[in-house]
Point group: C2
Chain length 160, copies 2
């Protein structure tokens, strides 16, 4: 579960140059190719690296508006609400949070006006009592993981 320094360097390198191959990585890191391969296999089977899916920018797809909606759920309707929200393409993420029956929902829309349509669709479901929406203006720190990886790698004991 814990990662060591070499694991950290592999992940960082992979994040900086995703198209890089195992062979080139081994050259940059100064280790044998088999080592990098084994580390990568382990990181993936550990679940540390979930995958290498394409990172798609909703804005470039025509959905430049991001918002968060806090939903208050009627008792016992949680499952139905989840099923409902998962059918809405503009719902990018759904989290249940502390507080009675609350969910946090990440939305995108084509425009501020379009956001109204999305919200109507989101809250147009019986189990949702109340919704409060916050529009995102800027994203000073886009979703990142590298600093955390570096911290975890620094704390881990090296395997060699």
């Amino acid at each position: 579960m814990a990662i060591d320094h070499l694991d950290g360097r592999i992940i960082v390198l992979l994040a900086q140059e995703p198209r890089i191959g195992v062979l080139e990585m081994s050259r940059r890191l100064g280790v044998a190719r088999g080592t990098v391969q084994a580390r990568l296999d382990r990181l993936q089977s550990n679940g540390v690296i979930r995958g290498f899916g394409p990172q798609v920018d909703p804005a470039a797809l025509g959905y430049p508006v991001t918002a968060f909606a806090t939903l208050q759920i009627r008792q016992g309707q949680g499952t139905d609400v989840r099923a409902h929200l998962s059918t809405v393409p503009e719902v990018l993420e759904l989290l249940t949070t502390t507080g009675s029956g609350d969910m946090l929902c990440r939305l995108v829309a084509r425009s501020n006006a379009d956001l109204q349509r999305v919200i109507d669709r989101v809250v147009g479901f019986d189990g949702i009592v109340r919704a409060s929406t916050t529009i995102v203006m800027e994203n000073p720190v886009p979703l990142r993981i590298i600093p955390l990886v570096e911290q975890a790698a620094a704390e881990g004991r090296d395997r060699d």
Copy 2:
């Protein structure tokens, strides 16, 4: 900027099997390899596909607790607060939202107890007036983009 049906299929295929190569994709999609290559290049230079970085699971790294903090910022301190927060590895994302001087901050921590340490570090800065934290319990819909891509692809006009 708009994507068509083939673009959508490329992105979905790539999301499902990230390790797939251009050649294999062209076979699956029934088009020439050069076509897939050209589409991919266009999607990347368009910014629709930002990259193929590894998706790292913070929980597997030893940070199983996720939380959101809403921060109230002292007037004119926005820039300093951003700089401060970007130095905290446990801050995975930072967004500015509507409402006076508000920011939304995605955090992770090693445990609920450790979350206190992280929050202390986050709010231990002059420009932050008040912070309110919500702990994430479940993640019924993990960050996803496929449904949105499919919707965008269905709406787009085919290029052929």
